[in-house]
């Protein structure tokens, strides 16, 4: 099943896609935020309990202190999400953890008004154990819950890409000499990505599986590249192939 995404076009006529976040990642982000908030309160109370009796001190607070206390409790409950989303470019700590970001439907950063609306509407969904939100996110075409719909926002997922996979590894550079004298066809992108994935993941693979996979990859990739492996063992051949593509071109 393809990941749901939002497609839109820039002024330069480039089509862009935003990957929409699903229930799991959003639930994770919510739990992390709730945990953060809880931790903040518990820590504050704990630290406070070393120095005094809450009841007595609240009673003895001056006006400004009571005002700040009210503001603090109030913001802790309701302003956490709004403040983070507005000031942190759409990311609360939980969303940062889960790689999520709240944006407007046109992809621009979320503002105070939209954030206020989308978070105030939690008050309706929270008493129902977020059931409407979960259903709406799971089934909706754009994965918006009620607050997103009214606020005109989306939650997108941002992946962490690592471009260093396209760099030549030292091992590959060493093995490259054997291939250099033969004519090579460039690999199609999909095959190249497969090769890069294998090279990145092979330290985590079971040795037998790793050898079997390398043995299966070699003939297919060699055919695409228009050469034969020659005397090279499977993995050095794959490294050399990757290094060739990283270096030449």
């Amino acid at each position: 099943m393809p990941t749901p995404e939002l497609r839109f076009q820039t002024a330069e006529r480039v089509a862009l896609t935003l990957e929409l976040a699903g229930v799991g990642a959003r639930a994770l982000a919510w739990m992390a935020d709730a945990g953060c908030l809880l931790l903040c309160w518990v820590t504050a109370l704990l630290v406070y309990s070393f120095s005094g009796d809450l009841y007595d001190d609240v009673v003895a607070l001056p006006w400004l202190g009571q005002l700040l206390l009210v503001a603090g409790v109030f913001l802790g409950g309701w302003g956490w999400d709004v403040a983070w989303e507005v000031l942190g470019q759409g990311r609360t700590p939980g969303k940062r953890l889960a790689g999520l970001r709240v944006v407007r439907v046109d992809g621009t950063p979320v503002g105070a008004g939209a954030s206020l609306v989308r978070n105030l509407l939690r008050a309706v969904e929270l008493p129902l154990a977020y059931a409407p939100a979960i259903l709406a996110v799971a089934l909706g075409a754009r994965r918006q819950r009620l607050g997103d719909l009214v606020g005109g926002t989306l939650v997108i997922r941002e992946r962490r890409y690592d471009l260093s996979r396209y760099l030549a590894t030292p091992d590959g550079a060493a093995a490259l000499g054997a291939l250099r004298r033969r004519p090579l066809q460039p690999l199609p992108a999909a095959d190249w990505e497969q090769l890069a994935d294998f090279l990145r993941r092979r330290p985590e693979l079971d040795p037998a599986a790793r050898a079997a996979l390398a043995a299966r990859l070699v003939p297919a990739l060699a055919r695409r590249a228009g050469i034969d492996a020659g005397g090279l063992a499977p993995e050095p051949f794959l490294e050399a192939l990757a290094a060739y593509h990283a270096e030449a071109g």
Partner: protein
């Protein structure tokens, strides 16, 4: 394209272009976070165009690569940074809000009228129901309120005794929840839930007010609500208006698609909602302030004002019966005895002000005390005495306490080695200006005093309130010569014991001292904190 040479593989393209993509990424991050100088903006523009071309190339020749995903995400971020809304700072935003919020409210006047109508209808129905059949209160009025009204006092006292100060935050949270529900149900149930909520709240409001009125508490309740009620109800109605506005877009999207209509209306609803949250916070603050202000429900100390203190002094002389707290500090009007009897259960605070010890400047106040005690025989004063047992006992303690009492009134007792504690009354009206740190219940439990421990001054608060088992004394030392918490705690414990034993002795002494003791409630600490 950058050159004639076409890259033969993704890796080669990435290798060529990676530095410029990363530069673009950094510029975009800076653009989102703040402003960019012109040169950087031009560079951002150029880099974005080249990256767009790179993305097109990746798509056409190397589709499905990781680099394509990276570049697509990067360009989306750049796009967001370039096309974000203008950021003008707080000033222009406030000016815009000032102009747009009233417009948004006016644009949906029918919804506001409907919300007000529903609330009023509910209130009318609730009021009529209870007026018609007082038994209906059993269903419509919450139990704590009913028992409080039956006991003849305001139920708000409960809130205070549960958690003063915190109650303000709790109130704010409750109110915002209710407002959010009123708004949210509009979107979720197409307005039906909002209408039901309005009716229900109106019903409750009408029923409670009528019930309180029947119980003889009408004016006090209205007085209590006067400070925060209008603000709170207005904010609630605005939230309901926003909910109904969204509901209307949901029911009647017009030429737009339903989702687009809701979204468009949601933006206007956000403008209506913008003042709701601060207004509710302010209302909760006012409510908490009123609660805290009436915390010491002793006669005439409902407001933390110096003037109230002076009037309380007049009360104390036994000439005028104080109007017991609930109606506000309206001293000078005689209250019927039935009204007075209703407040007997209210928490009554008095002060025990303590100063460093050897003061002899209070002989005048001691005379006041005794004068008060002679005039305290009137029935009104006895009623006060019955309520303000703590105040009475503190005053009586002045006479009963052993120690280095000066010419009467000053009770100093050895608390611990090197600690001397003096309880003394406030002076009468004329001498108010040069009274010592005499503090009243008017500011809730805040009673400041100072004690001298081993020659060094300490600041402490002390609160005397009537509990079920008799007067309860709390003392808390804030600063003292010893900075160690346990020593301060020990000092506070000693102080509390000392004061409570003094109070207990005073209780045994009877009601005679009450009128004089009442003078101690002068909320004059602001003027008089200097030793």
């Amino acid at each position: 394209m950058s050159g004639a040479r076409r890259p033969r593989s993704v890796a080669a393209l990435v290798r060529d272009r990676r530095a410029s993509w990363e530069r673009l990424e950094a510029l975009a991050a800076r653009a989102v976070a703040g402003r960019l100088p012109l040169a950087d903006i031009e560079e951002l523009d150029q880099l974005q165009r080249r990256a767009s071309a790179d993305l097109a190339l990746l798509r056409s020749r190397f589709g499905g690569s990781e680099a394509e995903g990276y570049l697509s995400q990067l360009l989306a971020r750049v796009q967001a940074a370039l096309h974000r809304r203008a950021r003008g700072g707080a000033g222009p935003a406030l000016r815009r809000a000032w102009a747009e919020i009233p417009l948004a409210v006016q644009a949906h006047r029918p919804q506001l009228a409907l919300a007000a109508l529903l609330l009023a209808a509910g209130a009318l129905a609730g009021g009529l129901a209870v007026a018609w059949a007082p038994d209906a209160a059993a269903w419509l009025v919450p139990e704590p309120v009913r028992s409080a009204v039956a006991a003849g006092r305001l139920w708000t006292g409960h809130l205070l005794s549960a958690a003063p100060g915190v109650s303000g935050a709790a109130l704010a949270h409750n109110n915002v929840s209710a407002a959010a529900l009123a708004f949210g149900l509009g979107a979720l149930t197409a307005g039906l839930g909002t209408a039901a909520l309005l009716l229900l709240n109106g019903l409750l409001l009408g029923a409670v007010l009528t019930h309180a009125w029947q119980g003889g508490l009408g004016l006090p309740v209205l007085g209590f609500m006067a400070a925060h009620g209008p603000l709170e109800l207005s904010a609630f109605l605005l939230a309901a208006q926003a909910g109904l506005a969204v509901a209307q877009a949901l029911i009647e999207p017009g030429e737009l698609s339903r989702a687009a209509a809701v979204q468009l209306r949601g933006r206007e609803a956000a403008r209506i909602l913008a003042p709701v949250v601060p207004a509710l916070a302010l209302a909760a603050l006012l409510e908490a302030a009123v609660l805290a202000g009436r915390g010491g429900a002793c006669a005439g100390t409902g407001r933390p004002r110096a003037g109230a203190g002076r009037r309380a002094l007049g009360v104390a002389a036994g000439r005028v019966a104080p109007r017991a707290g609930l109606g506000g500090p309206r001293v000078g009007s005689r209250s019927p005895a039935s009204r007075r009897s209703k407040v007997q259960g209210s928490p009554c605070r008095a002060l025990a002000s303590a100063t460093a010890s050897t003061s002899t400047s209070t002989s005048k106040s001691s005379e006041t005390t005794s004068a008060g005690s002679t005039s305290g025989s009137s029935s009104a004063a006895r009623a006060v005495a019955g309520r303000c047992s703590a105040a009475r006992s503190a005053a009586a303690a002045l006479r009963a306490s052993p120690g280095r009492a000066g010419a009467g009134g000053v009770a100093s007792a050895g608390v611990r080695a090197g600690v001397t504690l003096t309880l003394r009354t406030a002076p009468a009206r004329g001498a108010a200006a040069r009274a010592g740190p005499c503090v009243a219940g008017a500011r809730g439990a805040r009673t400041l005093g100072s004690a001298r421990a081993a020659g060094a001054p300490s600041t402490f608060t002390c609160e005397v309130r009537s509990g079920r088992m008799g007067p309860v004394v709390r003392a808390r030392v804030f600063s003292s010569a010893s900075s160690r918490a346990n020593q301060r705690a020990a000092l506070a414990r000693t102080l509390a014991q000392r004061i409570s034993s003094a109070v207990a002795m005073g209780s045994a002494a009877g009601a005679a001292g009450c009128a004089g003791a009442s003078t101690m409630r002068a909320p004059a600490w602001r003027r008089n904190t200097s030793p």
